[in-house]
Amino acid sequence: MSELVPKWGKLLLPALLLCALPFYLDAFWLRIGLFSIAAAIGAVGLGLLSGTAGQLSLGHAFFLAVGAYGYTWLAGDPGPALPPALAAVLAVLLAGAAGGLFSPVAGRVRGIYLGIATLALVFLGHHLLLTADSVTGGFNGRSVPPLTLGGFGFTADDPELTVLGVPFGAEERLWYLGLALFALTWFTARGLLRGRPGRALSAVRDSETAAAVMGVNVARYRSAAFVVSSMYAGLAGVLLALSFRRVVPDYFGLALSVDYLAMIVIGGLGSVAGATAGAFFVTALPLLMTRYADQLPLVAAPGTGGEGALGPTEAARYLYGAVIVVILLYAPDGLHGLSRRVRARLRPARSPDRPPSAPWPASAETSPATPARAKEHTP
């Protein structure tokens, strides 16, 4: 209990720092930050599902799309043109409902099979986004109506706003919205993980039979994890739509799902802080690298250099791929584990925390092979 006060103090400083950023950074940096915050909200959701509950999902992009398109359609025209704040809430609920609809599959299918089944969601969803033009705008997508909250618009000039000499445009306003939503995500997810549901989900991950024996309703928790994770994805989708100001189907493809998977593993499975760090890493790094790659040696500026010259975009991709490989080779428990080890080394007096258990039953899935078959050939 005595740790409670310093913990709050530890959170206060970064929070103040994040709130001060719009006064010092221009729109480019704020936009990168916004995308990262949105990604962090989605990654926390996926971390809950894949890290804590051990259900591998490659379908996160689909639920992001449900949130983004749900908001765009509900608040826009064509569509019911609801008040944007209401539309945002409904879009999150819609994403949760989509997760609930998938729960017959999620409840029955395990491990790698679930991963590929959710992959189907991404492809079918993408097809739906392209085909249902009247709702989604087809291939070219739709522009996203801006959010307004009680007369205050999250746009450049509705109303004009200048704080401490800094004009507040759309990025600055959305930044604070993003921070508020992220704080909501952070506290709800940590509450879930540290409370009864989190323990129940970890128990289900480690052994369904043992969890059932302990009185955990396995099927209910499995589908509940899916619904909650989809709602976080929906919230991230709404925030992404607001920051992009336009939603297009091609963004919500398999690559996005894989990115989210990379986020939670790079961050370290099973922790909210890890998912957040991974989200910033995966989202911001390629953007920053693309922006600054032309200052690296051997890289030609765009437009110069002949066929086959190494452009900044490609250099950024190489670096990004290499960084993923290197980090996971030297820190298989992700950024979260890395920071824990660094802290343990800096403070030798305290014993290091226990090593993290490895969730996500990839190895358990190698066992469903027929138990009897290998015996035919015993030497």
């Binding site: 992959l119 990839a362 190698t366």
Partner: protein
């Protein structure tokens, strides 16, 4: 009727090629528990090597070099990167993400080299067709069916009759028990990756051959179609991967062939139909058509 026969043959050929890719996924998964996201880029690498080498070495020589090189790259990927990390098989999820990083590097490099071009592979079938009763089939399709069948039969023989196949099956069954029995897991794994790389390179040839326009930088993405194929059959079962691939190939060809009757489902539904079929199958049989239900011990 002719359309139906035509479509079925097409589907069979497509399924046979998917089977080569799906088998690679399954072998890697059985041996290491890793879902290989770099499979598409290995496939692209194989195709690219054939495309650049066939002028100098002839098609057969280029194919041989491509298959061996891709196998070596896949094996090296496993040995040098994946096996370096945490040896605990529970760490397979981390290795899965490492393959994403490798895929990003390989795809970036190959796309940069290929650019917007369509590369021809110089395969001996060209655009020749053969009449089979009422239908005409591209020779390359027939070759795909024949070669895939022979190669897949060979792979099954490897599993069934060689010491390596036995070791692989033992390792897939129970890693610890296999290690205690003297199975050298690292070598078994590496050979599995090599085999999968070779199969991917071979599949690239048929994916780029007529009637496909040639090898593009997006050819590797076709490997994704093999995911549902592998899952449909049950990830742990190679014969299942074969059956699943044929089912996926036939579904895709049938939906594309009868597009006009199915226009309610939207244009291009053929591309996503395999996924729809997969979800339905998984609802009925959660571990695929051939996957056995795992026994749970507490």
């Amino acid at each position: 009727m002719t359309t139906l026969l035509d479509t079925l043959l097409n589907g069979l050929a497509l399924g046979a090629v998917y089977a080569l890719v799906a088998l690679g996924f399954v072998v890697i998964f059985k041996a290491s528990g890793v879902l290989n996201f770099a499979h598409g880029s290995l496939l692209l690498l194989g195709g690219y090597l054939v495309a650049v080498l066939h002028d100098d070495l002839g098609f057969a020589g280029a194919l041989a070099v491509a298959v061996l090189t891709t196998a070596a790259v896949a094996g090296a990927l496993d040995r040098l990167l994946l096996q370096r990390g945490d040896p605990d098989p529970k760490a397979a999820h981390v290795q899965t993400i490492v393959t994403i990083g490798v895929d990003i590097i390989l795809v970036t490099d190959l796309s940069r080299r290929i650019g917007g071009d369509l590369l021809t592979l110089g395969d001996p079938w060209g655009d020749a067709v053969t009449g089979l009763g009422p239908v005409t089939v591209a020779d390359s399709r027939l070759a795909a069916i024949v070669v895939s069948t022979v190669v897949i039969a060979g792979v099954f023989a490897l599993f069934r009759f060689t010491p390596w196949g036995l070791s692989l099956r033992a390792a897939a069954e129970d890693v610890e028990a296999a290690a205690l029995m003297g199975v050298r897991l690292s070598r078994v794994r590496m050979l599995a990756w090599c085999l999968a790389g070779a199969l991917a390179a071979l599949a690239a040839v048929f994916l780029a051959a007529f009637p496909a326009p040639g090898l593009e930088r997006t050819t590797g993405q076709i490997a994704l179609k093999a995911f549902p194929a592998a899952i449909l059959g049950g990830m742990a079962s190679p014969p299942g991967a074969l059956a699943g691939s044929l089912l996926i190939g036939l579904t895709e060809a049938l939906v594309a062939g009868y597009q006009s009757e199915l226009h309610v489902l939207g244009e291009g539904f053929g591309d996503v139909a395999p996924y729809a079929v997969m979800v339905v199958v998984l609802l009925v049989r959660p571990t695929g058509l051939f996957g056995a239900k795992g026994a749970v011990r507490v």
